[in-house]
Amino acid sequence: MNDTAITSSVSVPGKRDSSLMRRIAKNRSIYLMILPGFLYFAIFKYIPMSGLVIALQDYQPYLGITGSPWVGLKHFERLFNDPMFFTILRNTLFLFTMNLVIYFPVPILIAVMLNEVRHHLFKRFVQTLIYIPHFMSWVIIVSISFVMLSMDRGLINEVFSMMGLEKINFLMSNEWFRPMYILQVIWREAGWGTIIYLAAMAAIDPQLYEASRMDGANRFRQIWHITLPSIRSVIVVLLILKIGDVLELGFEHIFLLLNSMNREVAEIFDTYVYTAGLKQGQFSFSTAVGFFKSVVGLVLIMAANWLAKKAGEEGVY
């Protein structure tokens, strides 16, 4: 007992190193297990991060990163002077705000209502149905919307014409793009989004509800004073994550909805990067666009996390 205390308090550099080496050597097989995953992250996540330097070059595929000429901030200057930049920024921020203000509360509302259901069968029935769309690809969700919204034989327009209303070209209009976008987001994700809130609510002590009932609280008061405060930290965590996703508005989703008629409201950073980069081959310029996007996202998530901690919540990291 005493011996070990003494040896560990006396620092013998060589000895500590060898014990470290021994610990590493002992776990050789564990390192071997981690290796493929480690290589995956290094190659497909970290090498592309270092590839961001091509935003500062006039990248030529045949010259490569080492051979392409350096041009400083040329591409960023071009981006900030591009009138398209403000359209994209406006669209991105608009859709982001819609996500935050319109979509975000919906799963909370549904989860609160589901939490009040006492019939287990009914609860399971609702949950089973509302989770389904989450597992469908955006191609399927958008395809179903197209079939239902098209001018020609689309369900919604057929109903409109039956009621003597004018048909609306939802798919090719500036005005209908945003409502259509957010409704599709809600349709696909709101049900699935209830899962975490429901789990948090399952952890609430039932005695709290009983005590409040003794004090004469009705159902609304119970929701307001017990359910919602109990899931506050979960709401905050998910809100931070959502803010960090500011520029991840569902690339596939918007890409599928985008057409020449709604470009003015639908073009976002990601679709612009795809068109300018992969379609037109402007690698350096579109990397600069993507770089700008990634940095803004990182700054926002850090700011949101900082704010959450200031407000006495745990934050995500």
Partner: protein
């Protein structure tokens, strides 16, 4: 538990149940409409506007889409990618998650940080594309699997699950002379079946839904998975774009509504089939690791 039986409370229940029932209905009606529409005739669809249960059953739409091998082929591609990709992703994820669950591992936290950071920041589309291209993966199915082999979120869920397995079990196995591989294969994996089932299904769904990767990395239409074909037939053929390049000849003419619906059903069916299994597992599995209390 004490039940609140007041009038206000009953009214609340009534409104609540109605609300939730309507939410469920609105969620699934579009699917029902499409499934029913795919099994009816073009004329019935034209006469009745909305069909939730066809009066005239017809397999014409399916006969049409399977009259060429475009759909068959793309289904084959999607099924292969899903099977191979899921196994590949699970092996990589489970191995790394197990390694990172070992608290005695030197360098564990820097590696964890390396993983977490990728969730906050990324090199973006173009640099990633250039890496995939320089590895010679373009136009191969490997491009749909390898560059997205591990999902950081799934990895963390698995690691947390592994960490919750009592250490005593592993220690006693070690004393009995079990190697690290033995512990993983004979103790950790068998005890983690709910998590493994859940994450496998998450990966399978992702691979089945692969679409954008295919657009970027596969130039040859003959190699496209079913999601890309679906987009060609339903979204592009709606006359919204002039981009009909790479179209299979049979689909140049804008297809009938029933045909579009049938293609949607075919691209959706596999998920609808695994969904009951999915449903059984994910509530149990995914939540265990995802968020603390």
């Amino acid at each position: 538990m004490l039940q609140d039986k007041s009038i206000g409370s009953r009214l609340f229940d009534g409104i609540n149940y109605t609300f939730l029932f309507l939410v469920s209905l609105v969620t699934v009606l579009p699917f029902i409409n499409v499934i029913a529409g795919s099994f009816t005739t073009v004329t019935e669809l034209a006469q009745k506007q909305f069909v939730f249960f066809p009066t005239v059953w017809s397999l014409d739409a399916y006969r049409y889409i399977f009259s060429t091998n475009v759909i068959f082929k793309s289904l084959g591609v999607s099924i292969s990618i899903t099977l191979v990709g899921t196994v590949f992703s699970m092996v990589l994820t489970a191995l790394m998650a197990y390694g990172l669950s070992r608290k005695d591992l030197v360098g564990r936290s820097p590696i964890m940080f390396m993983v977490l950071f990728t969730m906050l920041f990324s090199g973006g589309l173009i640099p990633t594309f250039l890496v995939v291209k320089s590895m010679g993966l373009v136009d191969s199915y490997a491009a749909l699997i390898i560059p997205n082999a591990i999902n950081a979120f799934n990895l963390i869920i698995m690691r947390n699950f592994f960490q919750n397995i009592p250490e005593g079990l592993e220690e006693s196995a070690k004393i009995d002379g079990c190697s690290n591989w033995g512990i993983l294969l004979r103790i950790v994996i068998p005890l983690s079946m709910p998590a493994i089932a859940t994450i496998s299904l998450f990966y399978a769904v992702t691979y089945w839904n692969t679409y954008f990767q295919a657009i970027i990395y596969l130039n040859d239409p003959a190699k496209w998975p079913v999601q890309v074909i679906l987009r060609q037939i339903v979204i592009l053929a709606s006359g919204l774009t002039a981009d009909t390049s790479g179209f299979a000849d049979d689909f140049v003419r804008p297809p009938e509504q029933t045909v579009k619906m049938a293609v949607i059903v075919v691209a959706t069916l596999p998920i609808l089939l695994v969904y009951p299994f999915l449903q059984k597992h994910f509530a149990k599995g995914a939540l265990l690791g995802s968020i603390k209390g």
